[in-house]
């Protein structure tokens, strides 16, 4: 039987509508609901624009323009405190390096303790894993605020913040790497009569070490970026200088500090990528 569009009579349509109503698009109820959702979303959007006084955008724009103009004016370049800015930049990188390396030192043993094939006891592993989650779950910035309160302004607070947050991240990554090691290789070492410790040292560690070093290098890289923000809350480094200069409207120097940060981050990215390729490849 061949079907043609011309053969379809209004009665056919009515009959089909009764048999398969959903084939003719959404029903009236669905359509109303859809419109209601769209209108509600649009209404909420508009209400929020009014609530947060978005009219300010237009009064603020000229000021933003002024800031950009000030940022681009580097005529005072010779008078800026280059030594202090450069030293702070190095301090930020040093914070990232020291914090990440300390985290590596803590995370390596913790990673073993959190790995199923090292500690089969479920309860113990549950506790260590939740500990990692706790350190990781709280943002570096929050840790920095806490440590600035405890240790005072300066890089120590920043280093501790990086160290604690990264210990959580790295421990979890290391534990997973350890769980993914090849059982055949460790079995080969176990069969020689090696102690459990010797199996971990000679059978497991060689398998995970390149991964752990790669991940730590990546953390140094990403922490050099994030340590800037830690400085803004008083935890040392270039971020601290940045916030001081923002407060006194020294926008030219703010721009200069941002350029310094970009250069430093690009340099560290390159070096770390090269090192990781060498170590893991």
């Amino acid at each position: 039987m061949s079907l043609h569009l011309a053969d379809i009579a209004p009665t056919d349509i009515a009959a089909q509508r009764i048999r398969t109503p959903t084939a003719f698009g959404p029903g009236t109820g669905t359509k109303v609901l859809r419109w209601a959702v769209v209108l509600l979303a649009a209404g909420y959007f508009g209400y929020l624009l009014w609530l947060f006084e978005f009219g300010k955008l237009f009064t603020g724009l000229p000021r933003l323009w002024t800031i950009v103009r000030l940022m681009l004016d580097w005529t005072g370049f010779a008078d800026w405190d280059h030594a202090e800015l450069l030293r702070s930049m190095l301090e930020t990188v040093a914070m990232a390096y020291l914090g990440s390396m300390l985290a590596f030192a803590f995370a390596l043993p913790l990673g073993f303790l959190g790995a199923r094939n090292v500690i089969p006891a479920r309860v113990f592993r549950f506790i260590t894993r939740r500990l990692f989650d706790g350190m990781r779950g709280v943002d570096q910035l929050i840790w920095a605020l806490v440590f600035v309160r405890a240790m005072g302004l300066g890089p120590i607070a920043g280093i501790l913040a990086i160290c604690v947050a990264d210990t959580g991240v790295l421990s979890k990554l290391f534990a997973e790497a350890i769980e993914n090691t090849d059982r055949k290789q460790t079995e080969g070492v176990t069969a020689t009569g090696a102690s459990f410790f010797a199996v971990l040292r000679m059978g497991v560690l060689p398998q995970v070490l390149p991964v752990t070093i790669g991940q730590t290098l990546y953390q140094i890289e990403s922490n050099s970026r994030e340590a800037t923000i830690l400085g803004l809350v008083g935890a040392g480094g270039i971020g601290l200088r940045l916030s001081e200069r923002i407060q006194i409207n020294a926008w030219d120097q703010v721009a200069y500090a941002i350029v310094l940060i970009l250069i430093a981050v690009a340099l560290i990215d390159t070096v770390s990528r090269w090192l990781r390729m060498r170590l893991i490849g």
Partner: protein, 260 residues
């Protein structure tokens, strides 16, 4: 702690009704076996017959479900801790997949054979003694591998890796070598080299060799005593001449033709 007999006195190894169950299957079912120092024994059977489990039970990589392993009257199945590890060192294992640590160099892999005798401190910093290093190099040289000593283990061919594994086993100064399908992953030339090495160790060093083999011809060519396993049971124990059609059928079932 049960004292182990000195290495040079492990003369008779006995398996008494040794069994191992994995879930519903009996991998090894009531194995009774006596092996005397200096023998070279080939264990044959289909995959899943329990050959691999049997060797791992002897090295105590796997715990038996029931039965005993006795060495010169000492119950090996009761050994724990340091005594158990000392037993493992005496019954060195060779694996089908070599089981070397890929990222360690060949020399360090061979030196792993000494781990049983090392303090945690020495292990941590890989402080092998000069004498241990000399022994490792000489053992590698014995198998023509001295020049690859500083290469990473996974850079070597399968045949070379298996000989490195044999060198590691020899560094354990074992009384017995347990080889689990040592040539199944190798081409014929390398397979011969590895089997010749095992035979040489058996003849020259007087080390007992238990070797699981997939192919009948290899077992016939190298072993004066053959053990046939089927479905976890030992169904044959005797010289190769005893492998009649009926016996082979009992070992391999209808797959005899697939195991030349």
């Amino acid at each position: 702690m049960t004292p182990l007999p000195p290495n040079d006195r492990i003369f008779v190894l006995q398996l008494v009704q040794l069994s191992r169950r994995f879930g519903d299957t009996l991998a090894v079912a009531g194995a009774d076996l006596t092996i005397v120092r200096g023998e070279m024994v080939g264990i044959i059977g289909r995959s899943g017959a329990g050959k691999s489990t049997l060797l791992r039970l002897i090295n105590r990589l796997i715990e038996p479900s029931s039965g005993r392993i006795v060495a010169d009257g000492v119950d090996v199945t009761a050994l724990r801790g340091a005594a158990l590890r000392a037993w493992r060192a005496r019954t060195a294992m060779i694996f089908q997949q070599f089981n070397l640590v890929n990222r360690l160099d060949v020399l360090t892999n061979v030196l792993c054979g000494r781990l049983n005798h090392m303090s945690a401190w020495r292990v941590l910093f890989k402080r092998f003694t000069p004498a241990e290093r000399v022994l490792a190099i000489r053992t590698l040289d014995r198998f023509g591998l001295a020049e690859v000593a500083l290469k990473r283990a996974d850079a070597l061919s399968g045949g070379q890796q298996q000989r490195v594994a044999i060198a590691r086993a020899l560094l354990q100064e074992p009384a017995m070598l347990l080889a689990d399908e040592p040539i199944s992953s190798l081409d014929p030339v390398n397979a011969k080299a590895v089997m010749d090495a095992l035979l040489d160790i058996n003849r020259t060093d007087g080390i007992t060799v238990l070797v699981n083999l997939h192919t009948l011809d290899t077992a016939r060519a190298y072993c004066r005593r053959i053990i046939g396993m089927s479905a976890g049971r030992i169904v044959f124990d005797g010289p190769p001449e005893g492998l009649t059609e009926d016996v082979l059928h009992a070992i391999y079932g209808d797959d005899v033709a697939e195991h030349p």
